[in-house]
C-alpha cells in the first residue's frame, strides 16, 4: 500500500504552549484516516500546518513525496489538497452555485487565468460539475440562493461541496458534520463513503462524533496534548487504555 501523506516530527509552539509535539502520521492512499482527541489536543493546528496556514517550527509534511511545508496555501491546493473548514468559510455575497464553481475553476485553470471576456455561462462543464456535486449533497434546489442566507447546516454542506468539486487527491475535513441534523449527518456519511469508494480520494477527517468516525474511518489516530498517543484500526482503538485515559482522565 502506498503512503499518500507522511508527517514526520512536526513541532509547533505558541508562546509557552507546545501545541504539537513531535507528531508523526502515515496516511494510506485511498483510505479515510480519522484524527480524534479531546478539545485542545492540536487537531486543527495540525490541519493548519498541512494547508499552509501555519508553519511548523520543525518537521516535514510529505504529500506524494513532496514537502508541503513553506508552500503557499494556493500552491498546496493546486498540488491536490483541499480543505473543508470547521467554521464555514464561504463567499457569503455570492450564490451557492458560484461558491462551488470557483474551486472547480481553480482546479481546471490553476492559480490565475485572465479569462476576463469569456462569459461565465459558457462554462457549461464547470457548471455541470458543480451542480452534480450539489445534487449529491441534496442542495440542487438552492443553486441561486445567496450563500449568506443559508442555514448553518447548509453552509457546512456547501463547504463540503467546495472541497469535493475539486476532485482532490487528499481531502481534509475539519468536523464536517458539526451543526448538522442527524439525517444530514447520515447523508454526509453516505456521500463521503461513496466518494471514497468510487474515486479513491484519500481523506483525513477530524471529528468528535464517534458515530461518524466509526462509520467512515479505515484508521484512527488519537491526538492528546499535541502528541499522537495511538494509531490503529477502529476496532482496536476503543479498547486502547491510553485512549481511554486521554478521554476520561485528561479531559481538560
Amino acid at each position: 500500500m502506498t503512503v499518500a501523506l507522511e508527517v514526520k516530527g512536526v513541532n509547533k509552539r505558541f508562546g509557552g504552549l507546545q501545541a504539537l509535539n513531535d507528531v508523526n502520521l502515515l496516511v494510506d492512499e485511498g483510505r479515510i484516516h480519522a484524527i480524534i482527541g479531546p478539545n485542545g489536543a492540536g487537531k486543527s493546528t495540525l490541519l493548519n500546518c498541512f494547508v499552509g496556514k501555519l508553519k511548523p517550527d520543525s518537521g516535514t509534511v510529505l504529500f506524494n513525496g513532496q514537502n508541503l511545508i513553506g508552500r503557499l496555501p494556493h500552491q498546496i491546493n493546486q498540488a491536490g489538497v483541499s480543505r473543508v473548514f470547521q467554521t464555514p468559510e464561504i463567499f457569503s455575497d455570492l450564490t451557492v452555485l458560484e461558491n462551488v464553481m470557483i474551486p472547480a475553476l481553480a482546479h481546471r485553470d490553476g492559480i490565475f487565468e485572465l479569462n476576463a471576456l469569456r462569459p461565465l455561462r459558457r462554462e457549461t462543464d464547470i457548471r455541470t460539475k458543480a451542480v452534480d456535486v450539489l445534487e449529491d449533497l441534496g442542495m440542487e434546489d438552492k443553486l441561486d440562493m445567496t450563500a449568506a442566507s443559508m442555514s448553518r447546516g447548509d453552509k457546512r454542506r456547501l463547504e463540503m461541496a467546495m472541497g469535493l468539486v475539486q476532485e482532490p487527491k487528499l481531502l481534509l475535513l475539519d468536523e464536517p458534520t458539526a451543526g448538522m441534523s442527524r439525517a444530514d449527518t447520515n447523508n454526509t456519511i453516505d456521500v463521503l463513503k461513496h466518494i471514497g469508494d468510487s474515486r479513491g480520494i484519500t481523506m483525513i477527517i477530524i471529528e468528535h462524533d464517534m458515530h461518524v468516525v466509526f462509520s467512515l474511518a479505515d484508521k484512527i489516530s488519537v491526538l492528546a496534548q499535541g502528541t499522537v498517543i495511538a494509531e490503529d484500526i477502529p476496532q482496536n482503538i476503543k479498547g486502547n487504555p491510553k485512549v481511554q485515559e486521554a478521554y476520561l482522565g485528561g479531559a481538560h
Partner: protein, 388 residues
C-alpha cells in the same frame, strides 16, 4: 446577443440610446426660454459626462468588484492626459495615437503602483495609493516641469514638431485635435422649431469609445475573472485555500481600471489639448469614488449614471446665482423669499462643493447601494408586495 444575456443586452441598448440621443433630450427646453439654463446639451459638458463615465466604469471594476478602495486613480488619468498631449505635440494632431498611447502609459504606470500597493489591503492599500497619487501630483507640479509644464500645464503650441503632419509648423493657428481631418470641436447644429440641438464630433468619438469600454466592462462582470474578483471582496483568504492566488487578480483589475483612467485622460486632452497637475490631486480621485458610489458600487450601469448626474449638477448648480434664486422665489412674500434665497445661497454657485459633500454623505449613509441599488431594492419590495 454579443455574448450577453437578455438583461445585459437590454442595458447595453439602453445606454446606447441614452448616449446617442443625449444631444436631443439633454436640451428639453427651447432656446431663450426661462429654463434654457437647465439644458445640458453643450458639447463640452456632454463630453465630460462620457469621459468621467469611462473613468468611473473603470474605477468600478476595481472598487466595485474587489472592494479595494483606491484614492489614487486621478494619477492615472493625469498620466494619461500628459501622454496624450505629448502625442499631439510630437507625433500628429490626429487623436488616435494620443488615445492609444495614453491608455498604454497609464497601464504601465498603474502596473508599477499597483504591484507595490497591492502588497497591502484595507486602509493600508487606500493610504498607499493616496501617498503615490500625492507623490505624482507633487512631482508633476515641480520637478517634472520639463515634461508636465509644471503649474501652468502642458499644451500644444505652434512650434510643436508633429513629425507625421507637422509640415505647416510655425505658421497659422495652432491646429485643433482631429480625427483624420475632422476636428473634434466641429459641430452640426440642427434647429427644430425653437429647439436647438448640437451634434459634435468629439462627443460622438467619446460616445463610441464609451460604448466599447462599457461593453467590455459588462463582459468582465459576467466572466469567471469577474466572479473571482467578487470572491476576493467577499472572502480573500478563503480564495487562496481554494487554489487561487488573489494577487494577480487584484493586480489585473487595478491595471484594467488604471487603463480606463488613462483612456479618459487621453480623451480629455483630445477634446481640449491641455493637461495640468491638478487633475492628479487626491480630491480628483475622491470625485470618481463619489460617482461610483452615487450610481451604485458594483453595478454595471451605476458609474455611468453617477458620472452623468454629478457632472450635470456641477454644471447646473454652479450656474445658479442670487439673481436667479430671487426670480424663482419671487412668488413668495418678500420676507420668505429673502429667507429662501439666504438658505439656498450657500449650496449653489460657488457653493457647489458643499452640495457635493452633502450628497456624498447622504449616499454613504442612506443609500450604500447607490441609485441603482436603491431603485432595484424598491422594485424588489414592490414586486414582493404584489406577489403576496
Amino acid at each position: 446577443m454579443l455574448g450577453l444575456n437578455r438583461n445585459d443586452f437590454l442595458m447595453l441598448l439602453f445606454v446606447f440610446v441614452l448616449v446617442a440621443a443625449a444631444p436631443i433630450f439633454l436640451n428639453p427646453f427651447p432656446e431663450g426660454s426661462t429654463f434654457a439654463q437647465f439644458n445640458a446639451g453643450y458639447p463640452d459638458l456632454m463630453q465630460r459626462f462620457l469621459i468621467f463615465g469611462i473613468f468611473a466604469i473603470g474605477f468600478n471594476i476595481l472598487f466595485g468588484l474587489t472592494g479595494y478602495l483606491s484614492f489614487g486613480h486621478a494619477a492615472f488619468l493625469g498620466a494619461g492626459s500628459y501622454a496624450g498631449v505629448w502625442m499631439l505635440k510630437l507625433l500628429t494632431i490626429n487623436v488616435i495615437p494620443a488615445i492609444v498611447v495614453s491608455t498604454i502609459v497609464a497601464g504601465v504606470f498603474s502596473l508599477m503602483i499597483g504591484y507595490i500597493s497591492l502588497r497591502r489591503s484595507g486602509i493600508y492599500f487606500s493610504i498607499l495609493t493616496l501617498a503615490f497619487a500625492q507623490m505624482s501630483f507633487a512631482l508633476a507640479a515641480s520637478v517634472l516641469t520639463p515634461i508636465t509644464g509644471g503649474e501652468t500645464g502642458l499644451q500644444t503650441t505652434l512650434s510643436d514638431p508633429r513629425i507625421l503632419d507637422g509640415a505647416a509648423a510655425g505658421t497659422g493657428n495652432i491646429p485643433a485635435p482631429s480625427l483624420f481631418g475632422l476636428e473634434m470641436g466641429h459641430s452640426w447644429k440642427v434647429a427644430v422649431g425653437d429647439w436647438l440641438w448640437t451634434f459634435n464630433v468629439g462627443y460622438y468619438l467619446c460616445a463610441f469609445v464609451l460604448m466599447i469600454v462599457f461593453y467590455i466592462s459588462i463582459r468582465i462582470f459576467r466572466s469567471p475573472f469577474g466572479m473571482m474578483l467578487k470572491a476576493i471582496k467577499s472572502n480573500n483568504e478563503r480564495l487562496s485555500y481554494t487554489g487561487i492566488s488573489p494577487r494577480p487578480y487584484t493586480l489585473a483589475a487595478f491595471v484594467i481600471s488604471g487603463m480606463y483612467a488613462g483612456l479618459a485622460g487621453g480623451l480629455m486632452v483630445s477634446m481640449d489639448p491641455l493637461a495640468g497637475a491638478e487633475r492628479m490631486q487626491w480630491t480628483a480621485s475622491g470625485e470618481v469614488v463619489l460617482m461610483t458610489i452615487l450610481g451604485g458600487v458594483g453595478t454595471v450601469v451605476g458609474p455611468v449614471l453617477g458620472a452623468g448626474i454629478i457632472k450635470y449638477f456641477e454644471n447646473i448648480f454652479s450656474k445658479i446665482n442670487d439673481g436667479l434664486l430671487e426670480q424663482w422665489f419671487a412668488f413668495m412674500p418678500d420676507g420668505l423669499a429673502d429667507f429662501m434665497v439666504t438658505i439656498v445661497h450657500p449650496f449653489v454657485g460657488k457653493g457647489w462643493h458643499l452640495s457635493l459633500g452633502l450628497m456624498f454623505m447622504l449616499v454613504v449613509i442612506f443609500l450604500p447601494g447607490g441609485l441603482v441599488g436603491g431603485v432595484t431594492g424598491l422594485f424588489r419590495r414592490l414586486f414582493r408586495r404584489r406577489s403576496h
